[in-house]
């Protein structure tokens, strides 16, 4: 749930509850005041009756106004307890209400009323007096209050909505700006996090923290890369020296079998060390996007060349190679494309068994390299990580990592699958961004 929505939700519920309570209190207060007013009127009336009786010694003529009725009934002395009651008020319609009378057979209607039961003594006769006043105005008032309350609630909701739309969104704008920056943040990227323009302290602070953090992360990452690059570079010279010394050593002649065996091992080890080192350097370069050539490459030709190049090795391992190649043009660094294709093909040969199969399919959508090999699938999660090697592999453990990086660089996807004893690597050309 968005912060805004959550905030609005809380705000809304609170507002409604507060307004309802206010309405209720309001209603109680008003109705109390009105009842008190009515009761005062009733007492005045009672007073008048008492005065009239004490002066005239007879009951006043019962009269009826629009909102007050008085009735006298003889009663046993002392039988009446003075009290205010809530009762009904029967309102007779005047002649002007003829249309109403037409619809209803009754001569009037009942309205809520407030009454005062009291007593008066005229001579010896004890009378029960009932004064009733209509309370219809009170009801109207309450209805009005209720309407106003609802109106205010609606108005508040509208105001909230507007605030949300106009103010909150603008207030939070810097936050979403920073969020967007963070989302597009790439540690290997050279782009800095742009400063979000805001006068809100919290966001300024957040921005500063985020910017610093990003800078530090980038700095550390850069340091690490520079270290890798420098380390690899520094290694090149000693490797070059070893290599040249070995080349010189074998010229000296008179080497016995044991010595030449040792030299052979040294050659392979140096060669491996060199390949590993070159791979590390290449990885750094790809990640730094230092190989940003944009050249048209005919992938079909490239695959064919790679296969021709490795022909003797296929023969040596008695591999059956089946190719189905369609024309496919891509754009990018020829050097990287070359490495990508030969890495995948080399991989398919290295992990193959003598007399195995290699199937290469190139279509407009994908390049698929299938090969026979181990009887169980590789760990798809880990094969693309650095230095992950299947047991017994003589590779550097960087080949697939490099392939994956190159694919990312080209905007391709690289996926692994295993079915029917075939290990399959698929480069999808169209799925830019589908890979991490």
């Amino acid at each position: 749930m968005k912060l805004q929505t959550r905030y609005n939700y809380v705000n809304l519920v609170t507002t409604i509850i507060v307004l309802l309570i206010t309405g209720l209190v309001y209603y109680q207060a008003i109705s109390w005041i009105l009842t008190w007013q009515k009761d005062k009127d009733l007492k005045d009336e009672e007073q008048e009756i008492v005065q009239y009786v004490s002066i005239n010694h007879q009951l006043p003529q019962t009269f009826q106004t629009n909102d007050q009725q008085t009735s006298f009934t003889a009663a046993a002395p002392g039988s009446v307890q003075r009290e205010f009651i809530n009762t009904v008020y029967f309102k007779k319609w005047d002649k002007g209400d003829g249309h109403r009378r037409h619809h209803h057979e009754k001569a009037g209607e009942y309205e809520p009323g407030r009454g005062l039961v009291t007593s008066v003594t005229v001579g010896d006769q004890y009378y029960k007096v009932l004064i009733i006043e209509s309370e219809v105005e009170t009801e109207d008032l309450i209805r009005l209050i209720f309407t106003i309350t609802i109106g205010v609630i609606l108005l508040l909701l509208l105001a909230l909505l507007l605030i949300n739309r106009l103010v909150l969104r603008r207030l939070w704008q810097p936050f979403y700006g920073i969020l967007g920056e963070l989302r597009s943040f790439n540690i290997a990227d050279n782009r800095e996090i742009t400063k979000v323009d805001t006068s809100t302290d919290e966001f300024t602070e957040l921005n500063v923290v985020v910017t610093n953090m990003a800078q530090k992360a980038k700095h550390d990452y850069k340091d690490l890369k520079i270290f890798t690059e420098n380390a690899s570079h520094e290694l090149l010279t000693p490797i070059a020296v070893i290599n040249s010394k070995l080349d010189t050593l074998i010229q000296t002649g008179n080497l016995n079998e044991k010595q030449s065996g040792l030299l052979n091992d040294l050659y392979s080890a140096v060669s491996r060390l060199n390949r590993l080192n070159q791979s590390l350097l290449l990885l750094v370069k790809i990640e730094n996007k230092l190989l940003h050539e944009e050249k048209p490459i005919n992938l079909k030709d490239l695959v064919e060349e790679t296969i021709t190049q490795l022909e003797e090795i296929f023969n040596d391992k008695s591999l059956t190679v089946a190719c189905s190649l369609e024309d496919k043009q891509i754009t990018g660094s020829r050097y990287l494309a070359d490495i990508l294709v030969s890495n995948l093909v080399n991989n398919a040969v290295r992990h193959n068994y003598r007399g195995g199969e290699l199937i290469i399919t190139l279509t407009a959508e994908s390049l698929v390299v299938k090969n026979t090999g181990e009887d169980w699938p590789l760990d798809a999660q880990r094969i693309f990580t650095r230095f992950h090697k299947s047991s017994g592999s003589e590779g550097s453990g960087l080949g697939l990592t490099i392939s994956k990086q190159i694919c990312n660089n080209f905007g391709f996807s690289l996926t692994y699958g295993f079915s029917n004893a075939y290990h399959t690597f698929t480069i999808g050309f169209g799925s830019a961004g589908a890979t991490g």
Partner: protein, 251 residues
């Protein structure tokens, strides 16, 4: 795996060597390299066979030499104490010195390579390399410089037409595959030297080399070349050396 060695298809010029020139004229080679171990090895490998090697280990020393003497080929390291090899290359080209230049650098970046070649270097070899590879490339440069693209390479009874890529023993034309042809040229450039199986494999297969650590395929490859040469009437010049390499020699 990346490799600094270009594959066969884009490096044919590397094999264009003319052995016969070595006998007529003494060749002078300048090695500009600050790493002593490497410098010594190169010097040792190149000296003899009628070649003279001089060395320079700093920028200033190198500058002094190129301003005084002319060389058939200069092996130029880029990172030198006191300056950049690129600047030495600039001086050479500004003065229109005809020396052939082969850059040997630890920097394997396309930009550096292009910069070097644009500045007028004849070739670019990335460290580490096999001395035999270096020799093959230097020979190619010298041949181009000296003969302005003459296309005959001769070794005793062997005649190689470098443009047509044809190999003849006397009048008898041999049918060699692309790789067999490249191998023969590589051997001739490194005549009399033991060339390791690794160097051969890296030269011919480039990246492919690491996928077959037993070099059986090299053995069968060499067996084929040898068979074709001998059947064509050529002497058997290819000798196995201690199980770790081969030597092309007429002695």
């Amino acid at each position: 795996m990346p490799t600094n060695k270009p594959k066969i298809r884009n490096s044919t010029k590397s094999f264009q060597i003319c052995f016969c020139t070595f006998k007529k004229k003494q060749l002078k080679i300048l090695i500009i390299e600050d790493e002593e171990g490497l410098r010594d090895s190169i010097e040792e490998y190149f000296t003899g066979d009628n070649n003279i090697c001089e060395t320079a280990k700093t920028y200033t020393a190198a500058l002094g030499k190129i301003n005084l003497y002319r060389y058939d080929c200069i092996l130029l390291d880029i990172t030198l104490p006191g300056g950049s090899g690129m600047d030495i290359l600039k001086v050479l080209k500004e003065n229109n010195y005809p020396d052939g230049v082969l850059i040997i650098s630890a920097k394997n970046s396309l930009d550096d390579r292009l910069d070097g070649l644009n500045l007028g270097a004849d070739d670019y070899l990335v460290k580490p390399f096999h001395l035999s590879e270096l020799k093959a490339r230097v020979s190619a440069i010298i041949r181009r410089k000296t003969f302005n693209g003459s296309n005959q390479l001769m070794f005793n009874e062997l005649t190689i037409d470098l443009l047509a890529k044809e190999v003849k023993v006397g009048q008898n034309q041999l049918k060699l595959t692309r790789k067999e042809y490249a191998l023969l040229l590589y051997f001739i450039a490194n005549k009399g030297k033991v060339v390791s199986k690794n160097a051969i494999a890296e030269h011919l297969w480039g990246d492919g080399i690491d996928l077959a650590d037993n070099f059986d395929f090299i053995y069968s490859h060499i067996k084929n070349v040898r068979k074709k040469l001998v059947e064509g009437g050529c002497r058997d010049y290819i000798q196995a050396a201690y199980g770790m390499g081969y030597k092309f020699s007429d002695q």
